[in-house]
């Protein structure tokens, strides 16, 4: 039987507002423990929450970027559960009336566009952080638990996808696209390693083509896109193997173990988690009038989807447009600059996604010395035959290494092509004289010989001759018009 995976992803995004969601404390993860705290985020008796306007702008921006409907009057609910790092023992969150609803996100995979539904995005507050000390830091054997409430009350947006994802690769593409959007909006640091963006996946399998939903398993602790992809892939295979062996899938939360390369049951009691949600009586409904939404919409930066369309109108193939759009911000920025400096879009694309990206990967540094003007100048040098395509790569290396403008680098590294007829005629003469047989064969129409002769001239000139000009000079000398 062939199986189909049904995957939904829940994403938590910590907003990088200056102050917390419901109080004036600073959001600062580098601070000493328990220094950014007050009666409100410590949940002291009598303290009351007041929503942060900037955080609301952040979630509305995310909602708009994900093509969501923005709810004019949404409601804060309390999610009640006891946990030591949750100071009020309830989390202010949203339940049946979230700020954002019914959106979608388009991902590109193998040249195909897939639309992943977004069920909702809602606003909530983060918890504090527990550290278990003594006996290996495991909660059950710890002798003491240290609590840091600096993170308590930091604004958090939870984005819930519909179960539209079908493979590990799609899950990764979705997560990457979502992270790119959030980063582009500038509302969050969106760093996986630091947990400012966190992904959990809900996975089930069913017979391919079926409409039913299998028992879902939640996977947590995936700290990179790679581990997300591996974890989802592993879990799909685990479930298929289990079902084919006649076992039942247990509804549970599993933990991705990066070293072991497998998901592991967390063995926590999956108590019927009844959070006793009810509207928080300390907060009035959150009103986001259409005028505010439009104000936020107008301030949004260009998002990946719009960008792809724009690249396509510059003449890039849709696949190339998608590839460029998902490239690093530096690459995209350089692309826009290079095109603005007059270079053809395709050439700019080829250089940036090819050589420049390879250099960035190899050196793990930003191409600080490269500007759009410089890249456009390099492209023009190749076009005009001043440097060969091969030599141009070396020129780029020089530019990236901080050696200056492309022409300067080409000259300094002695890479300028000899494009002077007079200078080349001697070399051509010598090559032809040395091999009368080849000349004869060319004359009699044996075209492939021209390549051999051009190569000989190139060798004679130490590779600096302009091959097009050499070709032309040989034909003139031999009297073949090709």
């Amino acid at each position: 039987m062939s199986w189909e995976a049904v995957i939904g992803i829940e994403t938590h995004v910590e907003l990088s507002t200056r102050s917390k969601m419901f109080c004036g404390c600073a959001v600062d993860f580098g601070a000493e423990p328990n220094t950014n705290i007050c009666p409100v985020c410590l949940g002291l008796p009598g303290a009351l929450p007041v929503p942060n306007r900037k955080a609301i702008e952040g979630i509305v921006a995310i909602g708009l970027a994900l093509n969501c409907e923005i709810t004019e009057r949404s409601v804060f609910h309390r999610k009640n559960y006891f946990y030591a790092d949750l100071p009020k023992n309830y989390q202010v969150s949203q339940f049946d009336v979230p700020v954002c609803r019914d959106g979608y996100l388009e991902i590109e995979l193998d040249g195909e566009t897939r639309r992943i539904g977004i069920e909702r995005a809602h606003m909530e507050e983060d918890t504090g952080k527990s550290t278990h000390v003594g006996d290996g830091g495991r909660i059950h054997s710890a002798s003491e638990t240290l609590l840091d409430f600096n993170r308590s009350g930091v604004p958090l947006v939870e984005i819930v996808s519909r179960p539209d994802i079908r493979s590990a690769a799609e899950a990764r593409a979705y997560a990457q696209e979502l992270r790119a959007i959030v980063a582009e909006l500038g509302v969050s640091d969106a760093r996986l390693e630091e947990g400012s963006i966190r992904f959990d996946a809900n996975i089930s399998i069913r017979p391919a083509g079926s409409d039913t939903l299998g028992t879902k398993v939640e996977i947590k602790n995936m700290n990179s896109f790679r581990s997300l992809e591996r974890a989802v892939d592993y879990e799909i295979r685990r479930q298929i193997a289990a079902v084919e062996a006649g076992q039942q899938i247990v509804q549970e939360t599993r933990h991705w173990n990066e070293e072991a390369g497998e998901t592991q049951s967390m063995r926590t009691k999956e108590g019927s988690s009844d959070y006793r949600y009810f509207a928080d009586p300390d907060l009035v409904p959150l009103v986001v009038p259409p005028s505010w939404v439009e104000e936020i919409r107008a301030s949004l930066p260009e998002l990946p989807e719009a960008r792809r369309k724009r690249y396509a109108t510059l003449g890039l193939h849709p696949k190339a447009a998608a590839m460029l759009s998902s490239s690093a911000r530096t690459i995209r920025h350089l692309f826009d600059e290079t095109v603005a400096a007059g270079a053809p879009a395709l050439a700019a694309f080829n250089w940036l996604t090819g050589e420049v990206t390879a250099w960035m990967r190899r050196t793990d540094t930003e191409p600080a010395e490269l500007t759009g003007e410089r890249l456009a100048a390099l492209i023009a040098l190749v076009d005009e035959g001043v440097v060969s395509a091969t030599a141009a790569k070396e020129v780029l290396e020089g530019v990236l290494a901080g050696e200056g403008e492309p022409r300067q680098v080409a000259e300094a590294r002695d890479l300028v092509q000899v494009s002077d007829r007079g200078a080349l005629e001697g070399a051509v003469r010598r090559v032809l004289d040395a091999d009368p047989d080849a000349v004869e064969r060319l004359r009699s129409g044996e075209e492939k010989v021209i390549g051999f002769l051009v190569g000989q001239v190139m060798r004679e000139t130490g590779g600096k001759a302009d091959p097009r000009l050499v070709n032309e000079l040989i034909r003139e000398a031999v009297g073949s018009d090709g």
Partner: protein, 488 residues
């Protein structure tokens, strides 16, 4: 020393120079000295802090820096209001020894107004009760009869004002906790419109119902105290940001031309004869002063009590979740964090609080939510609709504040339902968010005070105080309790 027993009179005397804020403080502390053993109105008297504040008030006034009518006036605070540097317990073991690092907004406003904070008064634990017997630190008693309860949950504040050990006090009212003890102690108690007095720093019982308000001897004093504490507060998201009523200037307007409704549902079975007679007599008096009396029916009032006993415990179950031994207050150790939390809560909360947390947790549970909490919210909407219909015909409503006068201590302790019925007249205003107040209108045959409740639509404090001031004039209530002095 003998001092004036109203805020207005004391305020005049201070400005005439016939006494000082320090004298006023001496006066109330002397009363407390004589009566606390019998009444137990206070959990904690802040002798030193009050002395400093009184002296500062005198210096301020001498320097010509007059902060208004509360300047130098000794005020008591219910012990569920956070006071910076002063223990705040909610009359619970779970908060024993807790010293807030901040002042509630009402407390800072009182300090700004030059008031002298005398101390913290007793209450039913976490304001859950109607007799002030559910205090972890022992009950309070009624100055009019020390074998009886002062009502609750703001019983300590009411007893202190009735006894003269404070000139005014703040209480909190979730289902009648200001008005019912005011009625039972012959004082004036006001629950203002929801949102007009900041709840920041009030330790929450049921957030959508809680409202802080004054308890005083007179209607005028209540207006003075209310005007000092209310007003928009950016720290409370539910705080009202519009224009506020002008209560003081409406005190002398009389009731001529007002239409006053008498609530049919708040009478009959369960109401003491003396209470019903006193209220009826007062209604006649109002008619004689030119008010048009209309009998009105609010059928939803019949189910208000049951809706209240779902909504209030539901909110409380969540509000009180934070008391877990992790960050402050009582901690009873356990093998695991969960065990520590469970033990702390098991030991820290009294039986009534535990009962309401259980009730509320149940009411919010999946599968029961709609039948309980959801249904209660619909009743709440029905009460609002009922009131809106009635307020289209009348300006204000009157009823007894409590169906009975002060009952003997212990009488209802084993019967929660009987205790809950104490608030039958007061609960609808909390569910509606409307203002309501209690004014003493006389004594029954045993010499126990009877209160009349005046209700008005949201932000209708002007008309409410107008009616209340007339009721006060008609009642001419100037009796004072005689508290037996215990020798030694």
């Amino acid at each position: 020393m003998s001092i004036p027993d109203t805020i207005a009179a004391a305020s005049r005397a201070l400005r005439e120079g016939s006494l000082t804020a320090a004298d006023l403080l001496d006066g109330v502390l002397e009363r407390a000295q004589m009566t606390e053993a019998q009444l137990h109105a206070y959990l904690n008297i802040d002798h030193d802090g009050a002395r400093v504040a009184a002296e500062a008030a005198d210096a301020d006034l001498a320097a010509g820096n007059d902060r208004g009518p509360l300047h130098g006036i000794p005020i008591a605070l219910k012990d569920n209001l956070c006071t910076r540097g002063m223990e705040t317990t909610c009359a619970s073991q779970i908060l024993a020894g807790w010293i807030p690092p901040y002042d509630a907004t009402v407390v800072s406003r009182l300090r700004e107004a030059g008031a002298v904070i005398v101390g913290k008064t007793n209450l039913d634990e976490f304001a859950m009760g109607s007799s002030t017997e559910n205090s972890a630190y022992g009950p309070s008693f009624n100055p009019w009869d020390i074998t009886r309860v002062p009502g609750g949950s703001s019983g300590g504040s009411a007893a202190a004002v009735a006894a003269g050990s404070a000139l005014g006090a703040l209480g909190s009212d979730t289902g009648g906790s200001i008005r019912q003890p005011a009625a039972l102690t012959g004082t004036v108690g006001v629950k203002p419109t929801y949102g007009t007095v900041s709840r920041y720093g009030l330790i929450a019982f049921a957030s959508s119902l809680d409202q802080i308000g004054p308890i005083t001897r007179t209607v005028e004093d209540a207006a003075l105290l209310l005007e000092a504490i209310w007003g928009h507060d950016p720290k409370d998201s539910t705080s009202y940001a519009g224009e506020y009523p002008q209560v003081r200037r409406s005190l002398d307007a009389g009731v001529d031309g007002l239409r006053i409704g008498v609530v049919k549902e708040l009478s009959g079975e369960g109401y003491e004869l003396a209470v019903e007679q006193a209220v009826a007599a007062m209604v006649e008096g109002l008619a004689r002063q030119g008010a048009e009396i209309v009998e009105v029916s609010l059928p939803s009032f019949e189910i208000a009590l049951s809706a209240y006993y779902l909504i209030a415990p539901a909110e409380a179950s969540s509000n009180l979740a934070r008391f877990d031994g992790v960050r402050y207050g009582l901690r009873v150790d356990g093998e695991t964090t969960e065990e520590m939390m469970a033990r702390t809560r098991g030991q820290g909360f009294g039986p009534e609080v535990t009962r309401r947390i259980l009730l509320g947790t149940y009411a919010l549970s999946a599968g029961y939510y709609d039948a309980f909490y959801g249904q209660a919210q619909r009743v709440r909407a029905a009460i609002r609709a009922d009131l809106a219909r009635v307020y289209a015909q009348v300006d204000a409503l009157v009823s007894p504040t409590s169906p009975t006068v002060a009952f003997p201590a212990g009488a209802r302790l084993d019967d929660p339902l009987a205790m809950y019925l104490s608030d039958i007249c007061t609960i609808p205003s909390n569910l509606a968010g409307d203002p309501a107040m209690s004014v003493p209108i006389g004594l029954d045959q045993l010499g126990l005070p009877i209160g009349m409740q005046v209700m008005a639509p949201s932000l209708g404090e002007e008309v409410m105080f107008r009616v209340a001031a007339e009721v006060e004039r008609l009642a001419g209530f100037d009796a004072r309790p005689e508290i037996p002095v215990v020798a030694g």
